[in-house]
């Protein structure tokens, strides 16, 4: 195990060094600070903005849903996550349309309308699944237990 670890780390350091060499070999030094800024911004954006929002969102959802079954809360959380992931793909498309070159075959759709429709679809699906789960739980609770009666 330890030998494998040393080999992996050694290979990794070589590949990393090669990548850094390729970077400085192909990109003008004046552009490097901009790249460093974007790398740092990516970390900050995740650790200081995205992750705390997810944390706070999770707490708020669990508080709001304290009367619901755990599965329903999970369905709602899952729906928000999937909608957010698609938004992550779709919002750049919408912004890019403002910058896009005059080429009607690039970014041809009305992505804003499609994103709205997708959120509606996600909300309807999550509600339907929650309703089915709720009905199933209730029937199970109302049914007299065969063992106890």
């Amino acid at each position: 195990m330890n030998r494998a670890r040393v080999i992996l780390v050694a290979i990794g350091v070589l590949l990393l060094a090669w990548g850094v060499f390729v970077l400085f070999d192909s990109v003008r030094p004046a552009r490097i600070p901009g790249l460093a800024l974007w790398l740092g911004a990516a970390i900050v954006l995740h650790d200081v903005v995205v992750a705390p929002i997810i944390f706070a969102g999770g707490i708020l959802i669990r508080r709001a849903g304290h009367r619901l079954t755990g599965t329903t809360v999970l369905v709602v959380q899952g729906a928000i996550v999937v909608g957010s992931l698609i938004s992550l793909i779709a919002v750049p498309l919408i912004i890019a349309q403002a910058y896009a070159p005059n080429n009607p075959t690039v970014l041809p759709f009305d992505y804003g309308a499609r994103l709205g429709a997708f959120w509606v679809f996600v909300a309807v699906t999550a509600s339907a699944v929650s309703a089915v789960l709720y009905a199933r739980t209730r029937r199970a609770n109302e049914r007299p237990s065969s063992r106890q009666s």
């Binding site: 590949l15 990548g19 552009r31 992750a51 755990g70 809360v73 999970l74 498309l93 890019a96």
Partner: protein, 422 residues
Amino acid sequence: MRRFLYEAQRALASPVRNPRMATVIGRLLGAAFLVCFGTGLYSHMLQEPAAWMRFATRPEFLYQVTQGTHIVAGIACFPLLLAKLYIVFPDLFAYPPVRSFVHVLERASIALFVGASLLQITMGLLNTNQWYPWPFPFRQVHFALGWVLVGLLAIHIGVKLPIIARHWRAHEDEQEADHLVDAVPPERSRNAEAVRLWGERGPGGLTGRLLAYIDETPPRRENRVSRRGFLATVAVGAAAVVGLTAGQTFTPLDPVNLFGPRKKGLGPQGVPVNRTSAQAKVADAALAAGWVLTLASRGTERTFTRAELEAMPQTEVNLPIACVEGWSQMATWRGVRMMDLANAVGADAETSFHITSLEQRGSFRQTTMGREYVQDPLTLVALELNGQTLDLEHGYPARIIAPGRPGVLQTKWLSRIEAIDA
């Protein structure tokens, strides 16, 4: 500081945030990274080949598949990377922040790994949208970061190997919370550590109220349900981002291509366009009455008008145009075989060619075609597309179409084809 780190870890504790889950998501993410790296490297070599490199020309859809896979795997990295970061997020608040010099290096490598991964997939995504908001060149940085990331991946696997090995398979005893960080108590109630840190009464003021608020939040449901729910969410999320975009290259998904930057069949003559004649500023030269294609080899130079090219034996081929940006489109092309033109200027089978466009600027104004493509019977100087005269946007008067090459090498608006002297 210590209190802050401790409370952050305690508040963030979750049955989902454990080493088994990090291993499960991590190996999928690692596989996606390697697929992206391999297909990316292949694409890079095709575009910037060393003189000795030879490439496979069959199957003719090879590049369509490798580059389509590159983009699909890259998009799948969004849910996988975010899930991975979610799982390991409490590690950010590890106490003590640094234990030794090696630990400093490890944390620095993780920071670079996270930043470079996020930047790499974001750059790739925005490139497919032809949107470049950053102050550095895309191609060079994306390529260099690819090497940086495989290196950091190897280091990361090396560092975490004991944990990965321990959690590669699920264990029965893992049903109980098994947190990433030993300091985090599995139960949410205050324990001896908290009492020692805060005193009996606990923290006061805003901090205390905030922590109490978090503590009062109903706990997550049973661990196993939480974990399954998490994995199901990641799976549905990955299926959604891939399924709703991959239709731009994968025909069966075309009907649900809701968020792809391209649409199959949409464009002049049913084929999308990457670089328009207006962007390339070629319309005047391409539509000029005196246009000729010049072929040159070892001092022999011949020119062909479009009528002369049309008078030569014509071949019809079905070949996809496949772009680095991940879209592809099957089409029927008709024109003169490249090898017939090479023979017409007396070039032998060992000759590679420089191919030059009418474009005055642009990084792919001149490209190199290796002999394996020149000699392939499917490689054409195309004059027609899908049964019509080639549209100006598709390279009129004549363009290259060859099997298994990226779209940027399928040179449009041809001007000159010149043998490279060996």
